[in-house]
Amino acid sequence: MAVVEYKGKTFEVDEDGFLANLDQWGPEWVEYVKDLEGIKELTEDHWKVINMLQDYYKKNGIAPMVRILSKVTGFKLKYIYELFPSGPGKGACKMAGLPKPTGCV
């Protein structure tokens, strides 16, 4: 398990760069992933997606389906890709500190 240090914080990550210990999530993690993902600046819309993912995960124990994410935030999938170039799974969920998507992806 690799360990990343960023702005004085340490994060355990897996080989795809997802948090291996979800308790370590913090604003510094978002900063760190932002650079990896090639996002120039975090806007309010980015945070709207991240907060929605976290709320949904806390409440339901799963990441929302893409259509639910779209419906609740009001962002079409195209716009979500503009915000997070690697998409809602690899981009947004990683940033929000959710477990890595599984299944035949």
Binding site: L19, A20, N21, L22, G38, N60, G61, I62, A63, P85, P99, K100, T102, G103, C104
Partner: protein, 357 residues
């Protein structure tokens, strides 16, 4: 993102058609199989094209790809194609090139065949080369089986074509559920639960919902945030591991091969059919899997002896009856053969007095 090109799709196939196929597209009159592995198509215009089919191991190196490209350049004007069972077809327009091409293929060790009533290539999956859920290897077993059945690849000795497929777990990527003979990887142990890691790696509700028998439920200790498996209910499908990396279920001693028979996809004579369980378990025995190879050969030989011309494996079994199939192939009938999955299982029981002793 600046220079990114996206959503352009595959190149149009017409760019890679030999001129003779382009000219006669949709205007073919007839075809014949000249010999095992060699087809001749005749167009309405009288134009002829020969395809020489050779086996491929599916997983190939770029060097191999370059070698077949060189052959296509030399004999086929640079044209070749892959079939839906991963055979390679060299498309020859000039009849004079046919014999030299065949001679060079033979020299290169590329087996010509896979047409007509043969055992053609085995559709298979990733196995231990690349996947994380397999119970068996793919390439290794395929190599062992095709080595054993090689005589049937380049000949037309069988009553009908026999399609063999392999899937390394019962996700069944490929065609095992609809093949004459199918090799499928099965586990025989319930998943091991990594309680401490589970909540960081998995969505618990998704994991619970992935179980077809409802054997998984939340851990009674609320602080643990994990799951427990009701082992008598678990049939070791491995679905929960697909959803949750903290539930590994591969056991090198217990995983192994199941053989299924009698499936088909064509509508010729009889409707398409699913393949059904013939041998519930054969141990993994790398690198040559001799027990698996022997079991497949036995089924194939008995089929070749017993079936009428044009009869697929499933049609042969339906005609003689499953009890006869188990008898002639000398396969012990066990409780694993009896379907017990939900309501549909009832339809697979015998509700008649018609049977053979």
């Amino acid at each position: 993102m600046a220079e990114r090109i996206t959503d352009i799709g595959p190149p149009h196939y017409s760019k890679f058609l030999p001129p003779i196929i382009k000219d006669n597209y949709g205007k073919w009159a007839s075809h014949e199989i000249l010999e095992p592995g060699v087809l001749k198509h005749t167009a309405e215009s009288g134009a002829e094209i020969y395809s020489v089919r050779v086996g491929s191991p599916r997983i190939i190196t770029t060097l191999f790809a370059r070698d077949i490209c060189a052959l296509a350049d030399k004999y086929c004007g640079g044209y070749l194609r892959f079939t839906s069972r991963h055979n390679i077809e060299f498309l020859v327009t000039d009849k004079a090139q046919l014999e030299p091409l065949k001679a060079e293929l033979k020299k290169a060790g590329l087996p010509i065949g896979g047409t007509g009533h043969s055992v053609t290539n085995i559709v298979h999956t990733q196995g231990w080369i690349h996947c994380h859920t397999p119970a068996i290897d793919a390439s290794g077993i395929v190599k062992a089986v095709m080595d054993d059945l090689f005589e049937y690849f380049g000949s037309h000795k069988l009553p009908a074509q026999v399609r063999i497929s392999l899937a390394c777990c019962l996700n069944m990527c490929g065609a095992v559920h609809c093949s004459d003979i199918a090799i499928c990887g099965v586990h025989r142990t319930p998943p091991k639960i990594m309680h401490e890691k589970l909540r960081h790696l998995c969505e618990i509700p998704t994991t619970i919902a992935s179980c077809p028998t409802g054997a998984i439920r939340p851990h009674p200790d609320k602080n643990l945030k994990s799951v427990i498996v009701n082992e008598p209910r678990c049939m070791y499908c491995g679905n929960c591991y697909t959803m949750c990396p903290a539930l590994p279920c591969f056991d090198s001693e217990k995983g192994g091969v199941a053989l299924l028979v009698g499936g088909k996809v064509s509508n010729a004579k009889s409707p398409p059919a699913f393949s059904r369980l013939a041998v519930p378990y054969i141990p993994n025995n790398p690198p040559r899997w001799p027990e698996t190879v022997a079991a497949i050969r036995k089924i194939l030989i008995k089929y070749a002896e017993g079936a009428n011309k044009w009869e697929r494996v499933g049609e042969w079994i339906e005609r003689i009856g499953w009890e006869k199939f188990f008898e002639v192939c000398d396969i012990p009938f066990t409780f694993q053969h009896i379907d017990d999955y939900k309501f549909q299982a009832y339809d697979t029981y015998r509700t008649s007095m018609h049977f053979k002793f």
